[in-house]
Symmetry: C2
Subunit: 219 residues, 2 copies
Amino acid sequence: MAQEISISVIKRLPRYYRFLENLKDNGIVRISSKELAERMGLTASQIRHDFNCFGGFGQQGYGYNVPELYTKIGKILCVDAGVKTILIGAGNLGKAVASKIFTRQSGFKLVGIFDKNEAISGKIIQGIPVRHTNYLENFCIDNQPVCAVICIPSNDMKELTDMLCRLGIRSFWNFSNFDIAMAHPEVLVENVHLTDSLMTLSFLTSSSKEELEKISSAE
Amino acid sequence: MAQEISISVIKRLPRYYRFLENLKDNGIVRISSKELAERMGLTASQIRHDFNCFGGFGQQGYGYNVPELYTKIGKILCVDAGVKTILIGAGNLGKAVASKIFTRQSGFKLVGIFDKNEAISGKIIQGIPVRHTNYLENFCIDNQPVCAVICIPSNDMKELTDMLCRLGIRSFWNFSNFDIAMAHPEVLVENVHLTDSLMTLSFLTSSSKEELEKISSAE
């Protein structure tokens, strides 16, 4: 990318990728920015703006070639990178999240799963044994994972993230409420705060129609 | 709320609530906007602006009373509303998500769990039996749930959401990739797109330091 780019544009790329995959799977080869916009609930000019951030992918008057655009956006998202990843916490959430990582072209490759619950140690999740967290440090030294997925409560997170950052982890998919980015501004963090999401829905669900009309989508 | 309010402010409220709960649990009774800002990685003026959207909670020179502010924000978020909720999909993700709803003061009350997998039907999750989706329609007619949590893939979502909306569901916590809001603009939808989140992290993880410096946090 040549120019400065906003994080919102980046966060929209996976959605384009999903829509294009769907179009491709339905045998659609060419689409105009107008039609893509209608299907995605965006405007054609927003789509053109977003794609221009990465050099633009269309051809005047032709529209977009769907399989080509799909491949290009996939490359930008580094879906084939296979970044070495460990999962910490093998409860229901950890198992659900692992299945997302195992999805073809997630960009990540799960190499180790850890849990402090001894009853789970030794179980196999999609071919990978669950190890006790006691082995985490040595595993990281031996295997040099780059990304850690955090599916445990916030309690022991300070010590854990300190250790993981020291061992070379430089990106986190964080499902805990611990603020990793504040403790370690040097690493990349993508947070999924399920409780925050649920509370936002609680606010909206319990608001009256008149109150909802006062909510603007402006940031 | 009196004036127009942006969705971003609303989305920050759960985070304030979490931080205040933590302060309260640590016995902190009073906090200045400056100190709260530092702990949360925000600016004091942003905090004052956010709270002013709801009438303002502070007292000049005193700061905020932590337990009071916690209670007030909880009321705004309707954490005690106990909105009748059904969960569709009782796999790992569904079970993980159910535990969030069962959390004290989530704003929601889980009244039914459904899955089309007959092997799961009859199992009990935190006191609630998993019913086959064949019973979904009658259950909704009898129990009038307001919110549905969607933890199934996108495949059958069109028919399912059409039915749920017809049966009176007016708010969705949506973990599928199906765009409920586009199909049913009349309902409230809070999406959690795990794959999109993971792909955003993939992009960031595979970007060089120079590329990361070009990403602005502006929307």
